[in-house]
Amino acid sequence: MRILKCTINGKPVQVGYDPRESLLDTLRNRLHLTSVKRGCEVGECGACTVLIDGVATDSCLYLTDWAQGTTILTCEGLQAADGSLNPVQQAFVDDFAVQCGFCIPGIIMSAVEIVGTGKTYTRDELRKMLSGHLCRCTGYQNIVGAVEDVVEEINGTGACSEEARAAFAAVAQKARLVAEE
């Protein structure tokens, strides 16, 4: 047994782990962060995506041993203290982007990374940025639409509500996201 010390969803965490564990195993089985989905477990589907030091990573191909001292964000860290949804989550609801939902937490984490760059993108660019995720239900159109909308809402030139921007900024700080220059 080794001890992992890191920051998860804004809180310092210490947890015992077996060196054979993937980060996916540790997050789900020891910390009960079950938004992190166990899909293919070989890096093909993106269902297990979390942010590690602000970078969207497949946690199934990442050894827990490597997570010492890192800052990790999962979907559980997105809601505000009062339970209200983050603007990224809200966009998925508003755009009817979710069917069975299995792929969604992973895609939301990639979307958080994308919004965190502070830039806007074309639909084609977004499709490429989301291409590490498989969804068996939706046909992707509404998912790409939701990401397009929230990127535009937070990073675009139009008016954005102060609450939405503040809610996203709070998460960006938790995740150590750094906007690109």
Binding site: P19, S22, G43, T49, A56, D58, Y62, L63, W66
Partner: protein
Amino acid sequence: MYDIESLYEATSVADACRALAEDPQAMVIAGGTDVLVKVRSGKFAGAHLVSIHGLHDELDGVELAPDGTVEIGPITWFHHVTTSPVARERVLTLAEACDTPGGPQLRVSGTIGGNVCNAATSADTASTLVAYGALLDLQSVRGTRTVPITEWYTGPGRCVRERDEVLVKIRIPRENYEGFTGHYFKYGKRRALEIATMGCCCLVKLADDRRTIDDIRLAFGVAAPTPIRTRGAEDAVRGMDVAEAAEKVGELALAECHPRDSWRASKEFREQLIREMSRRSLLEAARKGGAEV
């Protein structure tokens, strides 16, 4: 849970070499995107792993040496090769090739050194590194040695690296990239999360008239059991006009390739890909160099 027998986090390259020498079953793990998949499948069950994942100071990043050599640390993520200002300025075709493996998450776990050491003929950086004539620096408890990439591959998934040797640097000398423009063409059935059915890299250096091929490098992945360079085709089209070279290069290259049938594609289809991709890659490389074709 992975079926791993032991996992040791090396504290330096020297420490990794020592750990690899001490345990005759130990193997290197960098990003783990090949190793862990093979552990999962049972092929590497019970693996003894020496991790170089954290050796950022010694093994991570792209730098320019004073003599113009581009020096790439082996644990540099694909994504960081793609975004590296040095790589983009000097070896742009490699930066672009590094944007093609897997999907975005894979490109922030998979490393360029892992791609070279895994030695698959389908590796997306292989043909481009062959075209750029990369030099590979290895280190072990016995010392250091340098292997030119053309002498690296010995068979499918095999290379001259000994089990206990660590790839510590990938070097591209200035004369191998200066004046060249290039194109990496990956053919697969999907645009993401797809292993190449065929990969082709062409680098060209045009004469001052922007029409004549002064020099050319043409390399392939999946056209043979290992990545290859088609030197006969290079020699034949050197000195030709770009348009004429484009017409001839496909057949010339095919004569030096040995594509195989696999579940991904038939031999015949691969032959068609070799002809067509040589032509298109040459044209695209020449266009980037200012040719109007």
